[in-house]
Symmetry: C2
Subunit: 297 residues, 2 copies
Amino acid sequence: MLSGKARGRISARTEEAVRAAAAELGYRPNVAARALRTGVARSVALVVPDITNPFFGRVLRGAQRAAQEASYTVVLVDIGNNRAWEAASVEALLAGPADGLLLFEADLPPGTSEHAIQIEMAPGGEFPVVRLDVEAGVDHALDHLLELGHTKIGHVASNFDAPTFDLRAARIAARLGPVPTVMAPFTFEGAKVAAAAMLDEDVTAVFCDDDILAGGLYLAARERGVSIPGDLSVVGFDDLDFARVLAPPLTTVAVDAEGLGALAFSALAADLAGESVPPEQVMPVSLTVRESTAPPA
Amino acid sequence: MLSGKARGRISARTEEAVRAAAAELGYRPNVAARALRTGVARSVALVVPDITNPFFGRVLRGAQRAAQEASYTVVLVDIGNNRAWEAASVEALLAGPADGLLLFEADLPPGTSEHAIQIEMAPGGEFPVVRLDVEAGVDHALDHLLELGHTKIGHVASNFDAPTFDLRAARIAARLGPVPTVMAPFTFEGAKVAAAAMLDEDVTAVFCDDDILAGGLYLAARERGVSIPGDLSVVGFDDLDFARVLAPPLTTVAVDAEGLGALAFSALAADLAGESVPPEQVMPVSLTVRESTAPPA
DNA sequence: TTGTAAGCGTTATCAG
DNA sequence: CTGATAACGCTTACAA
């Protein structure tokens, strides 16, 4: 009765009384028993590549907020940027605790029949995808640079193999043709050494796949005495909190990470409820212009 | 039998055969049924104030790694810096999914008999606590500043009410007596406006309760044209990734957030296993000296 | 409107 | 060493 399925079967007075008594005694339905009986755990798993990256923290918060509202619980799986762990981790989830999966840049062993939503992946796969409008993001960034008068633009790309980064590269190529490119890892230190090579290229502006990569470029530029934006304009992607506090503040593509997480959860909830969910949903992005971009010298 | 409780009751050959068949058919024990029968879900909940803060991301990763090794699952609850949500959120957990709680700067309704570990809280409460050696952290920072020759030191304190911040203030007071203090919120923008007031004080160095607060101070200093460390030395706390990329790189107290998370999980696991756990465990910290500190002008 | 009973998939116990 | 059986706490269907 406490599950709310009593529609009109019992009197309001009785219901009231029972609820009061339940509250009085501190009664809590046993979720394990309910899960066993109904086959539904009201819990979803979120798989992220690196929870240490603040971007995923925001996605997680969005998903968790939405989940909480629907009285779902979210269990976190952090792949730790280590693809080897991925299979094992996801495998563990399939064993049961989760009704469905929110997969951020992760794949499922093919044929595994499970409810899942993929985040920031290419559409056309087995599961619905929810993603950022990456193409619009690079368009905004490139338009801004082009308007400023830059013609020699470089690309500091992520060396993490994920569709979202392929999309960035493809869009840049489509707009500008081949451009000087370096691949950088997702840490300030690593990105710094990788990005240093970009300073030897003949470019007046660079687009970075992510703010962290831009941070690495800042480090390299500082070490080499190249001034931003005087000698080099730089634009990042994600608008992480620290972009604001860089010197100079970073011009970057702002994305709604929490919204992305929340949207992914809603899609999964809809799927679990048997509703049909669109094969692809994309979140708009915008450009936040700060002080790291200026006309070329 | 698959639960491994068959110690010598069946032959190795039989066991082998059964396991093979199980793997063949893709059999997975149903966790809900197991949880119902055994009363144990092999799952713990981690409650954090703000998952958006990279510090908690690191704690979460540490806890998750340790949990995964023990084949536990961790469910996340993000309070969102909103104390009002806290009770409701924790309440939801008590309903069942979690065998135990990892409470970061959170309290449990008193008397709630549950297995829990408190992180970064004052010892002496109902549950064992695991925390950073905050006192040593401020000692390191203060010693460093004192050695540099600073005598007029200010304190940018967190306005978030948590024992760890009380500890910092108490230690500073014990070492230096009353010092100019401003309270700042946990965002760059908010901290910037709060920290601006510190620039009007007669101080040559500032200790910040957290790197984020230090970032706010950087912003205020930049706006007012005060140079770091020329006019003002600043030291932060936590050694978040972005501390490295600030200009100048921030001198800060480095803490092992992942280790903290892992330690907290182990303590909880021990508690769950019926082992006794020490009422207080503290993690050592160290000072990372970078370029935001120098002798007073 | 209310009561009763079956069964979800495990694990544990107790005879065989 | 093996096989049958009860019980965990809940939901649901059906009988009263």
